[in-house]
């Protein structure tokens, strides 16, 4: 304390003041030492005032302004004098910054998912690990309706539960209007208390507490009633009249749960009194709010006991394991979770890490460029340094000057980067299907501060080496003629190697990623996915399925029509399955799909044995099964055809038979292995979706025909369809987006690298211009000269290749593990990447090389 006082106090009065303080202290200390101490500190702090504080010498009478102005002028003149260098220097940094900003925006957007819920850290989603016999183990986001209420009652850690049950697209009737609404869901009463979706009208805990209550989003309210104040209005859904009890803001884009209409769960369950204790089938999402300090591990120890008490099956804990997934992981860490129907824009969170890494890479490349070019250009500034030193500049001053200049350049780059960001973002948004806005950066003062701070830091970091280097010049040497002191710079070369290693790594990654993506697009998945239109089947369409199918088949542009209960591209639902074997009847749980008899024909799925469904056999309705090879293998029959099998609920004495075995086709996305599958036809079940195969040569006409025919039969519901290949593209969206980002960044990084190389080549070749002249006079040919000049650069690229390859290989192997079906990594790819980089690099420097090699030696040598 006293030391602080001695530091700030005016040296003229420090002695007696300290004396005064001590005297007072001693006097007080005689009465009460503790009080004296406090008072001492108080007095001391009160002394921190003008009149007592010393004058700080540094600030005394020194005006730095003219010097700064001089730095500014010389920096500006240098920028203008070497325009091409300045452009390369600033622009490469700009590109790096733009890339970083965009990545930042992207990551911020992804991270913002579900962050608006106040209880976000306490909310968990109940998930299951299912290991049914005869099928692959899978993580599933669904749970049973009885789990929410009973777990909340039996686990003290659980404060509250809410269930979220999606019904998908539904048709609403309103007076005589019929309107389809995309996302109709139901949830428990406290849904709005747990999740912070804002209610505009209605009270959180009350809006959906009665059966047949509904909350509408603003948008839906406008659509249905042309006003937002629609409380107490009614509509009809599924033959029941609902009353509107609340209006909420539209569900934000960054919410993994999306819904337009929220019904009270009671509406769906009032007819099912046992709903809250219903176990067995998983079809809704359950969310829990845990209390502070809940221990997930200790909870999970009690799950087996809980499951055993609820379900009467000996192997219950073999086939089900529960786990809680934190809300913040739902969006980014659910890649391995299947049957995840309520997870909007689910994204593979590991790619976030990749993006950040890639952003850092490109910034490093750009900064290295900056360092390298500034250092390489040192020759141009050497005379200035010499003169400044001669007239009295000290090293520190020069260092400051160059650092300031570097910060200035970084600042300029930042300004350009922001401008470029505004231009580039709309284009990027369409490419990666996001709504990113620069205002997310510029609207937030802390982020602006961060960016400015980072820019300054970047300026300083990138400027340190060049500044040290420049300010260390000896004036005598420099002014005498600087050419003589230039040596080969290992440091600069190694910077280039680092730069190119990173760029190479990204080129190779791009090639492999693109290869994998093309592979996924073109892989023979075992069925025909081109020109197939998926038509949603509503109630009316289901009733008229046969007529509609027949009418569609009469159209010339329709090549085939079939129906199915589920859509290809996801894992099919798993149902119980029985098979008779030598030792009795075994229970298995393969994926199941219910299809129209001509399904295999329309999709071109090949049979390896047996026959497809046929209307001729009456037993094919519900008693005939077609399985895939994987399932056949699992069952272990020598000849599966004719074996007795059936649905899990069939009595043992009335099983059906296996009539056919198909090839393993990828009904699930290529991230997963082909699961065991059983297909069946039930005439009375109805299909949720109609697949229409159309003539690929005349798609617009085919669409028109389908729409016309559909309208003839289905009058209540508007048509809604999607192409199957579009659906598949959605499945690989995360991967595709990662592919585009990597491609863009790789392009940019090699571009920045080349800009740097271009600048560097110009300088180093300039420096060897006399050597070239002499060689030429001595009889070297243009070609020999080119080889000599390019050699150094080629070596650098080669070195980069050696550095980059193994690291890239490791990274890519890790990435490919995400896919059950993946390309093998071909060493050739690395070679291609290396050669590509080499060609680009040599092409970049060739401009200078050719010019130097062709130059007239007289010109370069005449002043010697």
């Amino acid at each position: 304390m006293i030391r602080f006082f001695r530091w700030f106090c005016d040296p003229d009065i420090v002695e007696d003041l300290e004396g005064d303080l001590t005297e007072l202290y001693e006097e007080r200390a005689r009465k009460n030492i503790a009080l004296a101490k406090t008072l001492f500190i108080r007095d001391l702090l009160l002394l921190f005032r003008p009149g007592v504080i010393r004058n700080f010498k540094g600030l005394k009478n020194l005006n730095y302004y003219p010097m700064f102005r001089n730095y500014w002028i010389s920096a500006w003149r240098n920028l203008m004098k070497y325009k091409s260098f300045s452009v390369i220097n600033i622009f490469s940094l700009t590109i790096g910054m733009v890339a970083c900003m965009v990545i930042f925006l992207f990551v911020k957007d992804e991270r913002s998912f579900d962050a608006f819920h106040e209880k976000r850290d306490k909310i968990y989603r109940l998930c299951e690990v299912q290991s049914f016999p005869g099928t692959n183990t899978q993580n599933v986001a669904l749970s049973m309706p009885g789990m929410g209420p009973t777990m909340a009652a039996e686990f003290p850690e659980i404060e509250a539960f809410t269930r979220f049950w999606g019904f998908g697209e539904q048709l609403l009737e309103l007076d005589d209007k019929k309107i389809t609404i995309d996302q109709v869901v139901a949830a428990d009463t406290n849904f709005f208390e747990i999740f912070d979706y804002q209610l505009l009208l209605g009270e959180k805990g009350e809006v959906i507490d009665q059966p047949l209550n509904a909350v509408l989003s603003e948008e839906v309210a406008m659509k249905l009633f042309n006003k937002i104040e629609a409380v107490n209005e009614t509509f009809i859904l599924d033959g029941q009249q609902y009353i509107i009890t609340g209006i909420m803001e539209n569900v934000p884009e960054n919410s993994h749960l999306q819904f337009d209409i929220m019904l009270s769960i009671g509406s769906a369950t009032s007819s099912r009194p046992n709903f809250d204790s219903q176990f067995g089938s998983n079809f809704l999402n359950t969310y829990f709010v845990l209390n502070e300090g809940a221990d997930l591990n200790s909870m999970s120890e009690r799950y087996p006991e809980y499951l055993a008490s609820k379900m009467d099956r000996d192997d219950i804990n073999d086939i089900y394991k529960l786990f809680l997934q934190p809300l913040k992981e739902v969006h980014l860490a659910s890649t391995d979770i299947e049957h995840d129907y309520n997870n909007y824009r689910k994204f593979n969170g590991t790619y976030i890490g990749v993006f950040i890494l890639v952003g850092i890479f490109i910034l490093i490349i750009a900064s290295l460029n900056f360092m390298n070019l500034t250092t390489a250009r040192a020759g141009n500034r050497a005379k200035e340094v010499g003169v400044r030193k001669t007239i009295g500049a000290v090293k520190g001053q020069l260092f400051n000057q160059f650092i300031l200049e570097s910060i200035l350049l970084a600042g300029l780059a930042l300004i350009f980067a922001i401008a470029l960001g505004f231009i580039a973002l709309p284009f990027l948004n369409s490419l990666i299907d996001r709504q990113l806005g620069m205002m997310n950066i510029l609207g937030d003062p802390t982020i602006i501060g961060l960016i400015v701070g980072l820019t300054i830091a970047l300026g300083i970091l990138a400027g340190i080496y060049p500044s040290l280097y420049l300010s260390s010049f000896k004036p005598v040497v420099v002014l005498k003629g600087f050419r003589s002191f230039e040596k080969k710079s290992i440091f600069r070369s190694s910077l280039v190697v680092v730069q190119f290693s990173l760029a190479l790594a990204m080129i190779i990654s791009t090639l492999v990623v693109l290869q994998q993506l093309t592979y996924m697009k073109n892989k023979d998945v075992g069925f025909n996915k081109d020109h197939i239109l998926l038509l949603d089947m509503n109630q009316q369409a289901q009733e008229k399925y046969d007529e509609l199918k027949q009418a569609l088949l009469n159209e010339s542009n329709v090549l085939g029509v079939t129906g199915s209960g589920q859509r290809l591209g996801n894992n099919f639902h798993q149902w119980g399955f029985k098979a008779r074997v030598d030792t009795g009847v075994v229970n298995l749980t393969p994926s199941n799909v219910h299809v129209d008899p001509d399904y295999l024909d329309v999709y071109g799925i090949k049979l390896v044995a047996g026959r497809t469904f046929s209307q001729e056999y009456t037993t094919d309705d519900g008693l005939a099964f077609i399985i895939n090879e994987a399932f056949a293998k699992e069952l272990g029959y020598d000849n599966p055809i004719g074996q007795k099998v059936g649905h899990g609920w069939y009595p043992n004495d009335s099983l059906g038979t296996i009539i056919g075995v198909t090839e393993d086709f990828n009904f699930n996305s290529l991230h997963y292995k082909v699961n065991t599958l059983s297909m069946v036809y039930h005439s009375e079940w109805g299909f949720s979706e109609m697949s229409v195969k159309i003539n690929g040569e005349n798609i617009p006409q085919a669409l028109k025909d389908i729409e016309r025919v559909y309208a003839e039969f289905v009058t209540d519901y508007p048509i809604s369809y999607q192409f199957l290949d579009e659906h598949f593209e959605e499945l690989y969206k995360s991967d595709e987006q990662m592919g585009s980002v990597i491609t863009i960044i790789a392009g940019l990084s090699i571009f920045i690298g080349c800009m740097g190389l271009f600048g560097l080549a110009s300088i180093s070749i300039q420096r060897r211009i006399k050597e070239v002249g002499i060689r030429k006079v001595m009889g070297a040919s243009t070609r020999e000269l080119m080889v000599i000049l390019s050699k150094n650069f080629a070596i650098m690229i080669l070195l980069s290749f050696v550095v980059a390859s193994p690291l890239t290989f490791l990274f890519l192997s890790g990435w490919l593990e995400n896919f059950a079906f993946r390309v093998a990594m071909n060493p050739l790819i690395f070679l291609v990447g290396g050669v590509l980089a080499m060609i680009i690099a040599l092409a970049t420097i060739s401009f200078h090389v050719i010019r130097a090699a062709n130059a007239n030696p007289v010109k370069s040598l005449q002043y010697e």
Partner: protein, 109 residues
Amino acid sequence: MSKHSVGEFEEIVMLTVAVLYKDAYGVAIKKDIEKRSKRSVSLGAMRTALKRLEKKGFLESEFGEVTAVRGGKRKRYYKVTPYGKKALEQVMETRKRLWDAIPELAFDI
């Protein structure tokens, strides 16, 4: 009044310095003021005033002998300069003139 006017607190400080005569140093001045005017004075405020007065030329100071108390620090003794005395007199005179100019009945309301 001249440029170097004397504020109320400054006046008290100068008068106290004069009262204490040979014994006017930091803590002593502080205590005396506190005793006579019954108000608490912080070391900092007083020091600032002393410094300002010295700068104006109303006070001058010199270091005293080293003593065993006070952690071995010397005391700085202050003394009113003739110029300071003049300034004080001026203040007093101004006051006096003002008092004299007050009509008898002014305070009787």
